[in-house]
């Protein structure tokens, strides 16, 4: 909300600089930015009176004006057509800084001779003062403008941009902000006048109001003014509306808007003669009912919406917008002025459904106090009478079915240090609350009975009152103390620790951590063979319509991004959640670790030659991860995961349970995610790993006797797997370690065969093995390999 500092000063005396006021309000809960200052640049510009106009001796289009400023007279050359004797104008002396009317640049006014006549300054246009775009003629000031006064004193202003939190609808008004300023600075408040003569007939004779749905309309007040003269508002009123950012319309509508901005209560004026049977009925809209709103749009209403109706039809959407039929227009002479209170939740719904968030609805939605209604309707009636004339009917219609009497808030004074950790003097508490408009009764030395002022709808509990005191005294004064007292009994969250461990292991393994969007498209989920899962009711786009059921699409997209940026090798991982729907419940949020590996083969550095990402890198990574998580290692078994290449994939098991899958990304998935070239993927279900992880470590004694190392090269058919061979090699009780160190195909190995070379470590915990023992053990293994797998020793 933008409000004028000058307007603010109508209600409270301000001596502090604007910036300081802004800071104090900010600290107390109203975030204020000093948005615009009007008149900062008007140094050397003063109000002057035109005392003479004469033709320029050398130019037809120019004239010589004599202006008077507090006793002294000056002659200036002027080209404006609207110059006339007696006018009050803005006169810039030599040295003033102005906006050049033609270039828009700020320039310093210099002594000048124009067509041979010396000009002592300049009479300014709107544009030259930065007030507007008009440059056709000079700015005419009101006739009461004080001659000789600096223009900045007369017209200068500052706009405050204020962020009002939802709990303070009372501060969506200049008076509300003025009250805050008053409380902070200790100055008194001068509220606007509410008195007016009531010269019309008793209001009860003219109209009636009925509230059919008191739950949605706790209070409705109306006044009637007859014989008004519709026309433009006076200049001061228009200027204020403009300063707030509103367009002046006519004196009646302008007053309703003015009072809303001034005191916070939205009002509406009906053309009284258009209300059939002179009746106001506040009721729910009828099925199929519609209304043409003030903006000319036809709106369909539904029974959840509250309307203001006359005897026959809806004439306004309650608290949101008036209807066109009953609008105040040129022919209007009598008006019925409405000020009412509406239930915020229903009104908020209505405004949202109709897509009409108006200045009025915005205020109602925040829960205005019903007590705001009478003073506001009086103020508006008074102003209408002042600016549009007319006779005000006697009395105010006030239907108030929602009256509640909460009684005072009981504030134990001990509550202040209990909540704040700081003592505040009883006298200081009383002073602050009084300054904020609260009424306090001193019930006993220990407690106060506190009644919030009528405009505050947000203060209900002792804690609310404590905040009021604290924010005015200032949070600055709060001491900083440390938590003392008992430490809670803590239980380490195993899953949380596991996740952190996974991040440490994977990053230490050379992978960078990614965090990808949890919202993805249906296409991406389908392409990665992930189920669709939960859909958003209000997605921002099709690309972010579903909650991911796997982390596959996100990480592949991250890979594609990096490929596009020219990366030559990508190793990324993510630890995040997949959201798996459950019937009638929140989804299962499965903690998942995924990794994608791509590229990086060849000479990567003068001293390093590297293999590119492939299935075996993924396998090594998964094995390392699970081993380091303490699952007792991982096992890899054939799998059929459609997301992965049918041949290059395996399921990962730990402790006999499947915990994930690894493999090359299926080309179809890679295509959809625009991944270039073969990438390999690791996916581990951390929820499944949790149960297997963190096995206790029990120390094994270090070997006391030396080992014998033997290399063994075997030729086997392609169908024979490495695992089959190692299973046999490990079967010997003397073999403690089997390492496959070479795999070779091609001459002289017959086609359809391969050569596998193993390094075996023979070792006994009891003694040093003799060569004969090792030979015998190896011989037995070779024989078994030959018999069971058709393996033959490759001769050297």
């Amino acid at each position: 909300m933008k409000i004028s500092f000058r307007w603010l000063k109508d209600y409270v005396h301000i001596t502090l600089p604007t910036q300081e006021i802004a800071e104090k309000l900010t600290m107390a809960g109203l975030e204020v930015e000093v948005a615009e200052a009007l008149g900062d640049q008007w140094e050397g510009v003063r109000v002057a009176r035109v005392t003479g106009v004469a033709p320029h001796p050398n130019a037809d289009r120019l004239r010589l004006a004599t202006v008077e400023l507090a006793g002294e007279s000056q002659t200036v050359v002027c080209g404006a057509p609207n110059l006339s004797i007696g006018q009050r104008v803005a006169f810039a002396q030599v040295g003033a800084r102005l906006v050049d009317g033609h270039t828009g640049q700020t320039v310093t006014l210099k002594q000048a001779k124009i067509r041979g006549v010396a000009s002592a300054g300049m009479v300014c246009s709107e544009r030259e003062l930065g007030l507007g775009e008009s440059h056709e003629g000079i700015l005419e000031l009101p006739p009461d403008a004080p001659v000789g006064a600096p223009l900045a004193d007369y017209m200068g202003d500052t706009l405050l941009e204020i962020e009002i939190t939802p709990n303070r609808p009372d501060c969506l008004s200049v008076l509300g902000v003025a009250r805050e300023v008053a409380a902070i600075t200790g100055e008194p408040i001068s509220p606007p006048a509410l008195d007016y003569p009531e010269e019309g007939p008793p209001i009860g004779d003219l109209a009636s109001v009925e509230i059919a749905d008191p739950g949605l309309c706790p209070r409705y007040c109306a006044t009637i003014i007859q014989g008004i003269k519709l026309g433009p508002s006076p200049r001061w009123l228009q200027e204020r509306l403009i300063s707030y950012g509103m367009r002046p319309i006519n004196n009646i509508v302008d007053v309703t808007n003015y009072v809303m901005v001034e005191m916070g209560q939205p009002l509406h004026a009906f053309d009284f003669r258009t209300l059939s049977d002179s009746k106001i009925i506040v009721r729910s809209a009828r099925p199929g009912e519609d209304i043409t709103s003030l903006d000319g749009q036809k709106r369909s209403l539904n029974p959840d919406m509250l309307v203001i109706a006359d005897a026959h039809r809806a004439v306004a959407v309650a608290g949101v917008m008036g209807g066109l039929d009953t609008e105040v227009t040129e022919g209007t002479t009598d008006i019925l002025l409405e000020a009412a209170n509406f239930a915020y939740a229903s009104l908020r719904n209505t405004a949202a459904t109709l897509k009409m968030r108006t200045e009025a609805s915005m205020r109602f939605e925040r829960g205005l106090s019903p007590e705001l209604v009478p003073p506001n309707i009086k103020r508006a009636t008074q102003l209408i009478q002042q600016v549009a004339g007319g006779r005000v009917a006697r009395g105010v219609i006030d239907v108030y079915p929602g009256r509640t009497d909460a009684g005072p808030i009981v504030l134990e004074l001990s509550e202040i240090p209990r909540l704040l950790g700081m003592e505040i003097d009883r006298a200081e508490v009383l002073r602050v609350l009084k300054a904020l408009g609260f009424e306090c009764r001193e019930d006993s030395p220990e407690r106060l009975l506190v009644n919030p002022p009528y405009w505050r709808s947000d203060v209900r509990l002792p804690a609310d009152v404590v905040e009021e005191v604290a924010r005015i005294v200032g949070y600055d004064l709060l001491p900083t103390t440390v938590l003392s007292g008992r430490l809670p009994h803590r239980q380490p969250d195993i899953k949380l620790r596991l996740k952190e461990r996974v991040r440490d292991i994977l990053s230490a393994s050379g992978l960078h951590e990614a965090i990808t969007y949890p919202l993805v498209s249906a296409d991406w989920l389908e392409a990665t063979r992930s189920p669709l899962g939960l859909r958003l009711a209000n997605p921002v786009s099709r690309e972010q319509e579903y909650l991911r059921t796997s982390l596959r699409p996100g990480l592949l997209a991250a890979l594609a991004t990096n490929q596009k940026f020219g990366a030559e090798a990508v190793r990324l991982f993510e630890v995040g959640r997949a959201y798996l729907p459950r019937e009638g419940d929140l989804p299962l949020e499965r903690e998942t670790a995924v990794a994608v590996l791509w590229g990086g083969d060849g000479d990567v550095l003068w001293t390093v030659r590297q293999a590119g990402a492939d299935f075996y890198e993924a396998k090594g990574l998964a094995a390392t991860l699970l081993d380091r998580l303490g699952t007792g290692g991982a096992d890899f078994v054939p799998s059929q995961e459609p997301f992965l290449h049918p041949s290059w994939q395996a399921a990962v098991t730990a402790g006999g349970r499947t915990v994930g899958v690894i493999g090359q990304v299926h080309p179809d998935a890679a295509d959809v995610l625009e991944v270039d070239g073969p990438a390999v993927f690791v996916e581990i279900d951390l929820d499944a790993v949790v149960a297997q992880s963190g096995r206790p470590i029990s120390y094994r004694h270090l070997p006391r006797f030396p080992a014998a190392i033997r290399d063994l090269a075997l030729i086997v058919a392609e169908e024979v797997s490495a695992r089959q061979i190692t299973n046999i090699l490990r079967s010997s009780p003397l073999v403690t370690e089997v390492t496959l160190f070479d795999l070779y195909r091609g001459r002289p190995i017959p086609t359809g065969h391969k050569s596998l070379a193993f390094r075996l470590r023979f070792q006994s915990p009891q003694r040093t093995l003799t060569d004969t023992e090792v030979d015998r053990a190896q011989q037995q293994l070779v024989e078994r390999l030959g018999k069971e797998l058709g393996a033959v020793l490759r001769s050297a």
Partner: protein
């Protein structure tokens, strides 16, 4: 040969030893077990007592002197040898890389924040990202239709319950965990909750629809706003350094009373006001306050006995302030050129 002559000759020869090999040969020759000094010492037993003593002393003195000379000569030769540059040394050639990845800056910031609070006795817990309206809003004093819902533009899940309602949403803050934690435990409570949150909004350089928060909650007898201030100032010091100033001001969140907004002074302009801090000199880093009595009593806590404080901070925002990152969208782009800049 007389021992003294031997001594002179040995020292002279030592000067001639050009390298470590020559030196070793010299050592064997003069100080070895078969060398003249050893022999001389061995032959002492055949001498009369008085002479044995004199000879012995002399032999040992010569031996000691030669050993010292050998020692210093050896050090000289070693130094000479090592300082002679072999060919092919180029220390500017790149070292063999140790392939280590990096943690995402959000993770790193999470860890720093969590570590700071853990040192103050807070326990880390996590909660669901897909939530019920009840936990995200109602239990936090934001009933349906409440204007404060505007502060939290919400992604709703396409889900209808038995009564035709649509109560499932993506949590807009980590605050629902305040309620979940309190429902399960009795005071004292001291937890922090790192997690992902969602807001229904268009993304730009300073707004993301998905981001991360850390929530904190402490409830016990006699917890005060001053404790909150002390705790948060301490954490700000740990996160941003000793020299940053912090500011506590009043603001509104429906689930706290009194409410607090905490800011640190802008490091870019030193509090003078600049574009980064929109001219205010301050950068808001978190919202906080004393847990609202209605929130406490809703979970069955005795509000006359217990008070508590709660706070929530945006992780990306803190990371942006700490590292000078100017576009929040970078956090989800996973561009390695970005990720590699962090530890």
């Amino acid at each position: 040969m007389k021992l003294l002559e031997l001594h002179g000759q040995a020292l002279a020869e030592l000067e001639q030893a050009a390298d470590l090999e020559g030196l070793e040969a010299w050592r064997v020759r003069y100080l070895g077990r078969k060398g003249p000094i050893s022999q001389s010492l061995r032959s002492l037993s055949s001498l009369p007592v008085e002479e044995r003593r004199l000879q012995g002393e002399m032999a040992n003195r010569v031996k000691g002197s030669l050993q010292d000379a050998w020692q210093s000569r050896r050090e000289g030769l070693r130094l000479a040898q090592v300082s002679k540059p072999p060919s092919g040394v180029d220390i500017s050639l790149p070292g063999r890389p140790v392939p280590m990845g990096r943690l995402h800056p959000v993770t790193q910031t999470f860890r720093d924040i969590c570590a700071a609070f853990q040192s103050l006795g807070f326990e880390v817990v996590e909660g669901p990202e897909v939530e019920w309206d009840y936990y995200n809003f109602e239990a936090l004093n934001i009933p349906p239709g409440h204007a404060a819902r505007d502060m939290f533009s919400t992604f709703w899940v396409d889900y209808t319950d038995d009564r035709g309602g649509h109560p499932m949403l993506l949590r807009t803050h980590t605050s629902p965990m305040q309620v979940r934690v309190m429902e399960k435990t009795q005071p004292p409570v001291r937890v922090i909750v790192p997690g992902q949150v969602f807001r229904y909004e268009a993304t730009d350089a300073t707004h993301e629809a998905v981001f991360h928060q850390v929530e904190g909650l402490a409830v016990d007898e006699s917890i005060t706003l001053a404790d909150l201030k002390g705790t948060l100032y301490e954490v700000a010091r740990l996160l941003f350094g000793e020299e940053r100033k912090a500011r506590f001001r009043c603001t509104y969140f429906p689930f706290v009373e009194p409410g607090v907004d905490m800011a640190i002074d802008c490091a870019v302009c030193g509090g003078e006001g600049c574009r980064v801090c929109s001219g205010t000199g301050w950068l808001e880093i978190l919202g906080a306050g004393m847990v609202h009595p209605d929130v406490l009593s809703r979970v069955g806590y005795d509000t006359r006995r217990y008070t508590g404080f709660a706070f929530g901070m945006g992780v990306e925002r803190i990371a942006m302030l700490r590292h000078g990152i100017d576009d929040i969208r970078l956090f989800f782009q996973n561009d390695l050129r970005f990720l590699r800049q962090f530890r």
